[in-house]
């Protein structure tokens, strides 16, 4: 399946292991990724907060570039926040032809235009896995079921709310995909209070206490529910849950020390890729225990 691929900024910035692991996983799933190397940041909600027309124009630009990829089924992203920010703009662009024309006029100088066609989509890798590839097909490719690994899903706000905007009418189980996926990979999905809550990242520079209390609380809940690690489709959640974890631990006044994996890393492990090539050594919270468990699976 050929796809226009939008990796986002953070997956090539502070979480390079995310983009790297996606590139290794793609061929194992017969995905041909055409990277949108001219596309701009989705604005992560901040640009929309600053100026809606600017956010909508920048994302219409990305959509137009994606629609220009010859033979692509659609566009794939690997960042919940990009998904949410782009879906918000797409909702407005699709809602009103006059508004869409105004936004497209901003792109005319570059010969770009976003066309509203009923079957064009922009999907996060998680949605793509379940809806376009299919969990049954994924199951056939698994060479290393992650048996015995207890994984806590962390969805990220932007991919689960608001349901009206994010296509839950058509796909009502989108808020359960991560749980379903963990199960298919042979691991055990951990139920805990924080799975669909906010990691606190958007507040890290504006209210550090609120931000890190959120991250700390959800990590603690996952640990108390017996998780070996968390998995998230959002690199911004990863920044607050992994990179800031030692700081978050101070705000909830307890030890945390639970690794947080990116979605393609977990899929990659089950598809037989090695932790090191998936960049699992590039985390702030060490992934040694998870790596050891995976090594034992390989030996068994």
């Amino acid at each position: 399946m050929k796809l226009a691929y939008w990796p986002g900024c953070v997956s090539r910035g502070f979480t390079p292991e995310l983009h790297g692991s996606m590139e290794l996983v793609a061929p194992k799933l017969d995905l041909e990724l055409v990277e949108l190397d001219r596309a701009n940041c989705s604005g992560a909600g901040v640009i929309a907060e600053h100026n809606q027309e600017l956010a909508d124009t920048l994302n219409a630009r990305t959509f137009a570039l994606a629609q220009g990829v010859d033979g692509a089924f659609g566009m794939m992203n690997i960042c919940s926040t990009c998904q949410g920010a782009q879906s918000e703009c797409q909702e407005r662009l699709d809602a009103d032809p006059e508004y869409r024309a105004q936004i497209n006029a901003n792109l005319r100088a570059d010969g770009l235009s976003y066309d509203r066609t009923g079957d064009w989509w922009n999907k996060n890798f998680l949605w793509l896995l379940v809806e376009e590839i299919g969990l049954d097909k994924l199951r056939e490719r698994i060479v290393r079921p992650l048996e015995g690994l207890r994984i806590a899903p962390f969805y990220g706000c932007y991919i689960v709310r608001p349901t009206k905007r994010l296509g839950f009418d058509k796909h009502p189980e989108r808020d359960q995909y991560l749980d379903q996926l963990i199960d298919v990979l042979g691991a055990e999905p951990v139920q805990y209070a924080g799975s669909h809550k906010c990691c606190g990242f958007p507040l890290i520079t504006m209210n550090r206490t609120t931000s890190l209390r959120q991250a700390g609380r959800h990590l603690a809940d996952a640990i108390d529910a017996g998780a070996d690690c968390l998995v998230t489709p959002c690199p911004l959640c990863h920044l607050n849950l992994d990179m800031q974890q030692p700081e978050a631990s101070k705000y909830v006044e307890r030890d945390l020390d639970v690794p947080v994996l990116h979605l393609p890393q977990v899929v990659g492990l089950a598809l037989g890729l090695e932790p090191k090539e998936l960049g699992m050594n590039k985390h702030v919270v060490k992934t040694k225990d998870v790596q050891r468990k995976v090594a034992q699976l390989a030996a068994a």
Binding site: R38, R61, E91, P97, R217, V284
Partner: protein, 392 residues
Amino acid sequence: MGILDKLRSKDSDPGAPEGQAQQSGKTAESYTLKIRRYDPESGEAARYEDHEVELSPERSVLDGILYAKDHADASIAIRCSCRAAICGSCGVRINGKTALACNTRISDAAAKAGAGEPIVVEPMNNMPVIKDLIVDMDAVHWKKIQRVVPWLLPDGEAPEREYIVPAEAMIDVTQSMACIQCGVCVGACLALEVDEEFIGPAALAKAYRFVGDPRDGQTEERLQDLAEDPHGLYDCTHCFACVEACPKDVAPMDQIMRLRRRATGDYGIKDKNNGYGHEHAFVNILERWGTLHEAQLLPRTFGDGSLIRGQTEPGAVKQLIESLPTAARGLKSGKVSPRKALLHPKLPDQKSVRRIFREIHARDERLELNMYIVGENSAEEEGAQAEASGEV
């Protein structure tokens, strides 16, 4: 048959559970409600009770709670009145999601709970429980509403007759005026969960109702106050929980973003919480590079969006020092190389991105599409009409 049912069947109240089931011609089905019971005066811990209810599928979770109250235990406490999502009394958590009980279909709640699982009904979060499903709205919700001065503060003398207001200005505040003060967004708020002092979604949406009103004479003062409050405008974590929960599509978070836009864009309010700095850092970085240069976001945020301006403020220095351990860990783990921290590639056609920024920033007015006014289906309707008239 409970006493209430008898009374209702006597005057054939269409709201009575069995009455309506017969009216609609649908047969009643069996549902299990798992209701959280708690009476602080009893000294006993909270407990969960299962109740079987017989209702037709289109009835509400509130009908289910009232059924249990009528048939099994009259002491179940729930606040309700209109049963039609108007009075805003029956906010509860249903399977963990905050909603009005009268506005949630019992069959939908059962489907969400999963086969063989009960529908879990609990009081709303973020407010103390008075009894069972009733929370103390005065202690939290109404106190926060008071905080934002929820009345008009006009300048000068009142006009002889009515105020004349442009229609567009009223349309702009229509969405925030749709609020029924049910407190469902307050119960759902994920920032309030960790910071009980956060002004919260309902009160901030209410604040926009007056900030957006041209008759109000304290717009800048209101914005300044909310921007400088450490639990105000910049304590919203942008999680969409309030947008999802609101039964009236007020989208409180969108109103908070409007307040931010007015504070930074229209009044240039440079707050101590870095709201202004964060927005400007982000905008400046994208205008320059096209993608996010993360290593510069933090220092620029602490300095009004710039690497130079505002950097000598004591607050900026303190915050930079606070972030150093995280930066050091980033370097140590190999996530961030010194080269990557310093150099960031521009997009190949960054010129065109920069042109977009320049053109849009040069406009006199911000172009905004209000989905609340336009509606999500306008395009489909238009498509359908075009199809019908043979244009497609």
